[in-house]
Symmetry: C2
Subunit: 182 residues, 2 copies
């Protein structure tokens, strides 16, 4: 049995009073807001379990992901993408370096830079996590035709701030949100 005790706000109840001018204020998209919440909760939920087995958390996942995807990423670039301080990054990065998931290499042109690369061990972890997330994504894309998938991509792209993009985001935006092919 359902046993629902709470009520649900109706769209009508939260519709703002239209001004006499006739300008209808935009209606709050509770539906998308909540779908995004639950979708993202479950999307990051799968990796969490695997990460826990490695003694890692979401912070490690984010670092591993971007280092894998953009080999040779500088520490400074990583800080921009993750929007965290170097002290925060330092903690998780140090663990990933110590445990052999990532290696550093001094920059060619500028030897102060530490370019980051995933090791085979690191690649394996990323692949495992990305596999779980891809399974979920493919399931969610099932039943959508090509134009539907394109709509999803456009939507997600539109949700992203395009002003002042970091270099990684810039690369993604240039590709139109599509995976870059060679």
């Amino acid at each position: 049995m359902a046993d629902i005790n709470f009520s649900v706000r109706s769209a009508a109840a939260t519709k703002a009073n239209p001004e006499i001018s006739g300008a209808r204020p935009a209606e709050t998209r509770w539906d998308i807001i909540e779908l995004l919440f639950f979708a993202y909760r479950d999307f990051v939920g799968d990796p969490d379990d695997v990460l826990a087995e490695f003694g890692f958390g979401r912070a490690h996942h984010r670092v591993m992901h971007f280092v894998h995807r953009y080999p040779g990423l500088k520490v400074a670039d990583l800080l921009d993408v993750l929007r965290i301080t170097k002290q925060s990054l330092g903690r998780v990065l140090k663990q990933l370096l110590d445990e052999g998931y990532i290696v550093q290499k001094a920059g060619d042109a500028d030897r102060r830079q530490r370019l980051l690369f995933a090791t085979p061990k690191g690649e394996a972890l990323v692949a495992k996590l990305a596999g779980l997330q891809t399974d979920r994504i493919l399931r969610a894309l099932q039943g959508l035709d090509a134009s539907g998938v394109e709509a999803v991509r456009k939507f997600l792209l539109g949700m992203i701030d395009h002003d002042d993009p970091d270099k990684v985001l810039e690369a993604i935006l240039r590709a139109g949100g599509k995976t870059v092919k060679e």
Copy 2:
């Protein structure tokens, strides 16, 4: 100038070797994985700034949102939705109660229950935050036709685990991800 130092992994480079059987393993959806990361980052980024002015964090936002949307929600239901412990919830809920954003009311049938309701002050905060998020959502939905919007909804719905839903999620799933109307 772009000044990109890192490279980008190509889809071809990460394509797994097809087995001799001919079964092609599904390709990792790096594109959607990253779009989701950036989209969600910016989606929750707007409210963060406002919340900081109130001395609140994301945890407070989540609580306020669900209490507003499902008036009379029990504490136990809230714990299920947020997937946190009562101790964690207790901390933020106590602040929201003390500062007059939420009120409690003993359950009619079961007087042990504390049913939660947003006060006008609480409603105002939720409306402000939801407004910011709606602006972003509407911008992202612009340019999509009705079938495109439907595709987005289907996608987000498909990303959510449907087994063992909490009561709030159950209500959403019953409505097919659409905002419930009366």
